[in-house]
Amino acid sequence: MDPRIIVVTSGKGGVGKTTTTANLAVALAKAGYKTAAVDGDIGLRNLDVVLGLENRIVFNLVDVVEGACKLQKAMVRDKRVENLFLLPAAQTRTKDAVSSDQMLKLCDELRENFDITLIDSPAGIEQGFRNAAVGADEAIVVTTPEVSAVRDADRIIGMLESMSKSPIRLVLNRLRPAMVKSGDMIDVKDVLDILAIDLIGVIPDDTAVVISTNKGEPLTLGDESIAARAFSNVARRILGEEIPLLDLESSDQKGFFGFLRKALGL
């Protein structure tokens, strides 16, 4: 496989970009691919906490692009999962600390050293987003089934298209099948109607995600929750496997993780 760089982005904040990046990075590393998780949110770093690696950071992304240290030295190796490395963001700098040219150069170097690189983008459509996306080949857009998040995702997809990212695929996060059924939440089909891009996964709203985020232990490390399985499946689809979407509806009703079935409005 050629090295791949994928930006994880959304436009709107708080929809689950960092959680998605962390869970996918763990799952891809567990599948045997040398994986880099890059925190592109300079000044508001989070990915280190969600991955549980915040105590091991010495150098960061800005140190690397400024030439203060080598890439290998700044990468934090995860001791729980072989093949997983984090490039943390700087917390004491701002988005202006990095230029697009520097990011392009960094991505070239990441491509030489890793099979898959996931870049966690900051919210917004300004330079921070552009820097996170500029060196990526592909994009994963995360949205939740809310009108505001979908509209922001639409804006970001337009920008990613004009930056020639391909493929651009969608993760629909925090879906509550029971609410969709009662007509209180937009369903998958409505979101896809508007955004018109490929769906790569639907993640159910699951308390396990909140717990794991606070503990710094991504679900894909070994959790048995339905959200963990949904994230693992997204990782497998990134790797080219064809896996049907989880039947969230029956799992939601029965209260335990459900059965595989081609369903969910597709």
Binding site: V150, D154, R155, G158, E161, S162, M163, S166, D193, I197
Partner: protein, 224 residues
């Protein structure tokens, strides 16, 4: 659901009284320059003395991009630009701020000025949130106009798809302009200086609808 991508290349097209230099948004910024250089070099005899419309489509325009377009392409090759076309809202603001003519050219070649009105702008694509189209003639869109997108036309606007964004027909005061939407889901429609607001409970929601001005009122009519 695969999204089709056009094979993108800088092209020069004939238009009414001018040539149109199209820079597709699918080409990444760094690749624009060699493509432009090649096209302009090849068409040097055509461009000499003539005027061009520079069509940049939905590409997000940065200051650097506009600056380089001016220095490396326009001034370097002695091009005369009649107007700049961009669907990028911020790009339009940057161009206007620099006093550049934005939108379809206002004055077609003198010999046809009285013979024909503005050409219809036919867009076979969807407009995503944040994208904006302005045109001095009719606009016909085959695709969706998503929430957060805008279409402003001096004439009629037809959306052959789902309309969720903002449309303003007859924007220069022509109240005989119409808005037609195949599936109407927008929250506001403007014709001339009149506007009307809607929500999902309105009887027009999701229907094929025609909007027009009668007297002082904006009226809606469901289409069969």
């Amino acid at each position: 659901m695969e999204v089709e991508r056009e094979k993108a290349a800088v092209t020069l097209k004939g238009g009414a009284g001018h040539l149109r230099l199209v820079v597709p948004e699918g080409i990444p910024d760094p690749d624009v320059w060699p493509g432009l250089e090649k096209t302009v070099e090849e068409a040097h005899h055509l461009l000499e003395g003539g005027q061009i419309v520079l069509d940049l489509q939905g590409r997000p325009l940065s200051r650097d991009f506009i600056r380089r377009m001016l220095t490396d392409v326009i001034w370097n090759h002695g091009l005369k630009v009649l107007s700049w076309i961009s669907f990028d809202n911020e790009g339009q603001t940057l161009l206007r701020g620099a006093g550049l003519q934005v939108g379809e050219p206002l004055a077609p070649a003198p010999e046809i000025r009285h013979a024909r009105s503005f050409q219809t702008l036919l867009l076979e694509r969807s407009l995503r949130s944040g994208q904006k189209v302005e045109h001095p003639g009719d606009v016909f869109i085959v695709g969706q106009v998503n929430d957060g997108a805008e279409v402003v036309s001096a004439g009629n606007i037809v959306v052959w798809g789902r309309l969720q964004g903002l449309v303003h027909a007859g924007a220069e005061g022509n109240i005989s302009s119409r808005v037609i939407a195949k599936s109407f889901e927008a929250t506001q429609v403007r014709i001339g200086r009149l506007f009307s607001t809607f929500d999902s409970a309105s009887p027009w929601y999701g229907k094929s609808v025609l909007f027009a001005v009668e007297g002082d009122a904006l009226i809606a009519k469901e289409l069969p």
